[in-house]
Amino acid sequence: MSEIHVFYHSAMATQFQVRLAGEEKAYAAQAAQAAFTLVDDLENKLSRFRANSEISQIAQLKVGEKLRLTGPVLACLRLAQKIEFATRGAFSLSAAALKTQPTKPLWSLIECEFSLRCDSGKLEFDLGAIGKGFALDGMAELLREWSCPEFLLVAGGSSILAGDAPADNAGWSCGLGEDNSPQRLLLKNCSLSGSGLAVKGQHILDPRTGLPGTLRHRAWALTDSAAESDALSTACMILREDEISEITTKNEGWLVFLQEKENWRHLGLRPMPPVA
């Protein structure tokens, strides 16, 4: 097996990792640095904790006002809209806004103007359940541009995005749950995200009700893109099992793992990746 170079970077209130195989170390370090620079740029645009971010600017919009968006922010919000629709509202950027507002604020993307319009309420977006995944997707695109396709990207341990497998390997060994979990998958060119209560406790609001609504201790989602897996895993914390089955049937690229005591089950039509 070729040497795997590992690089670390703090961003988005967690630690990102780039693991690169099949590449000389000095070049791998430069590629990783370019990927981390991209994460920092996305954080500047997407974080609600940055006063000058576009997300902070969106929060200042009054009803009827519009904001011209840069490409990455528009792309991320487009994805968020799509996933909110696909999960029947179980994922929403506006979940946290329900702590301060009686109803979910509404917004529209004006595609021909590359803008967002505030339709009601105050758009207090929280991209905590999609931003890290979106960043991983951007890093992956950049690393492929750098001719570094054999990568594993990690955002805080809750989302990973696997590129090509290292030479002579079937995939990157990724576990579900605790360190050295016995439930391991060999992943390549897909993303796995997990959500749960172990670190932050009960912190997930049901955007449909504004109340804490978690139905399980942990959930994982396997999809092609990290933005999707990140958001879907959060949604699966509050979706009933029959809802998850229906959603994954309609989205054939999505696979969901649920844990019941020591057993894992998967829901969805996407073929199971090889088990490590």
């Binding site: 430069q30 640095q33 904790f49 000058n52 528009l74």
Partner: protein, 447 residues
């Protein structure tokens, strides 16, 4: 001395705490702005191009994409990889832009331009800016003005000869929070008393030199034509003499400019220590510590500046102005900004009431000296600037430039004003090399 101001339109598009809006507007009125803003909506947009799509060019592009009343028609870069990827991304986001290899190709082909934004390596600032000014364009040029004092001086001369606008990219000069702090807190209310010292810093962790994707190299003959030895030097020009000015120029320029701006005068001397102690493949100092002496009317104020590229320790980047009645720790990052009141200073309650400041609680009145009421421990009061700023941090400075082109504002950092800072930043690098105190006269700092 230029007192940067925001037009009414710029003010109204920033966000201020309730009640502070009027205070802000009264801070820098621009009586012509309303009619001018209406006029701008019916006139053609200002056609602009970005010359240089590197790291700083990307930051400026983020703002240029969201500013109203301009039309971005072209981007320029000698690196195909950078230029083509930016053209592609801009087209995806609704901008019909062309890509050009260099500024001469741009000027030869785009005859309807009114302005350019220049973000090429420092040693190209003077040639590109001078050529664009002479071509009849208004120019926003990133700081440093040049890698040499002579280059910077030539830019001021060309600005004067052509009568065109030349704004230098010290973006804090148009930041509403900085303008408010200077005009209202320091000058108007004088809440920090006599300023006796300042301190600023920008430290960064060790990083790898910038690389480039395989198969994206610029041909050696092209690199040589534009003054670069190789791709490594092209990507890391900031650290090479003859191309950039090192960390003092890259990071320190912004903050040393704040010393000059807020003290209202250039320093009378500089002494400094620094060295190339860490990176074996750079030319410029990796760490530098500088002390300036500013001759204020009340007496000398000393300002210490440090920029380290071997550690990120020190609590972010900020400029701190210290007086005998209080201190302001200012930063582009509002979460780092802090205000401290000396115990000997008068209460700031009236300033809170007048919306000069925001306080975490109301100060408990001392009452009669012979009586006291006992209850829970009162927390120490925290103060903040009542101005928030929901735009990209470079946006107001670019907007000020475009408003100046429209005739509705004055430049907040014209080249002759920026030259005063430019000169003393170059002198700091010179002081490190000379290992001695260098005297600076006010006359020297005039272009």
């Amino acid at each position: 001395m230029v007192t940067p101001s925001l037009t009414r339109r710029e003010f109204l598009s920033t966000t201020a705490a309730a009640g502070a809006g009027l205070l802000l507007t009264s801070c820098s009125p621009d009586s012509n702005s309303k009619s001018a803003a209406n006029k701008a909506s019916v006139l053609n947009k200002i056609s602009i191009a970005l010359i240089g799509c590197g790291a700083q060019g990307q930051v400026l592009l983020d703002s240029l994409q969201v500013i109203e009343g301009i039309r971005l028609v072209a981007v320029v870069d000698i690196w195909d990889y950078n230029r083509n990827s930016n053209v592609r991304r801009l087209k995806d986001n609704g901008f019909d832009v062309k890509g050009y290899h260099d500024y001469e190709e741009l000027l030869a082909n785009e005859k309807d331009l009114q302005a350019v934004v220049v973000a090429v390596p420092d040693f190209w600032h003077a040639p590109v800016t001078n050529a664009c000014l002479k071509a009849g364009l208004n120019v926003y040029c990133e700081k440093m003005m040049s890698n040499t004092i002579e280059g910077a001086r030539s830019m001021v001369a060309t600005m004067r000869e052509t009568g065109k606008l030349l704004q230098i990219g010290h973006q804090r000069r148009s930041n509403p929070r900085y303008i408010f702090a200077l005009n209202k807190l320091i000058r108007d209310a004088q809440i920090f008393g006599r300023l006796t010292a300042a301190q600023a810093q920008w430290n960064r962790t060790v990083t790898n030199d910038l690389g480039f994707p395989k198969h994206s190299e610029i041909k050696p003959e092209v690199l040589a034509k534009y003054g670069f030895k190789d791709m490594h030097q092209f990507r890391n020009w900031r650290w090479f003499k003859g191309l950039g000015g090192g960390p003092l120029s890259d990071l320190g320029a912004h903050q040393i400019d704040i010393f000059n701006w807020w003290f209202g005068t250039p320093p009378k001397s500089v002494m400094a220590s620094g060295g190339l102690d860490y990176y074996s493949n750079h030319d410029w100092y990796d760490n530098a510590m500088v002390i300036y002496e500013f001759p204020l009317a009340e007496g000398v104020a000393r300002a210490f500046y440090q920029v380290q590229t071997t550690t990120s320790a020190g609590g972010g980047y900020f400029e701190m102005f210290m007086g005998d009645k209080g201190t302001i720790k200012m930063s582009e990052n509002p979460s780092i900004t802090k205000l401290y009141r000396e115990d000997r200073a008068d209460s700031w309650d009236d300033l809170v009431a007048k919306n000069y400041l925001r306080a975490s609680a109301t100060e408990r009145p001392a009452g009669d000296a012979d009586k006291v009421d006992v209850r829970e421990t009162a927390p120490l009061l925290q103060y903040d600037i009542p101005v928030s700023f929901a735009k990209k941090i470079h946006q107001p400075h670019l907007e000020n430039f475009f408003n100046a082109i429209r005739g509705t504002a004055k430049l907040n950092c014209p080249a002759d004003e920026a030259f005063r800072s430019e000169y003393v930043i170059h002198k700091a690098n010179e002081a490190i090399a000379a290992q001695k105190l260098i005297a600076i006269t006010a006359q020297e700092t005039e272009a």
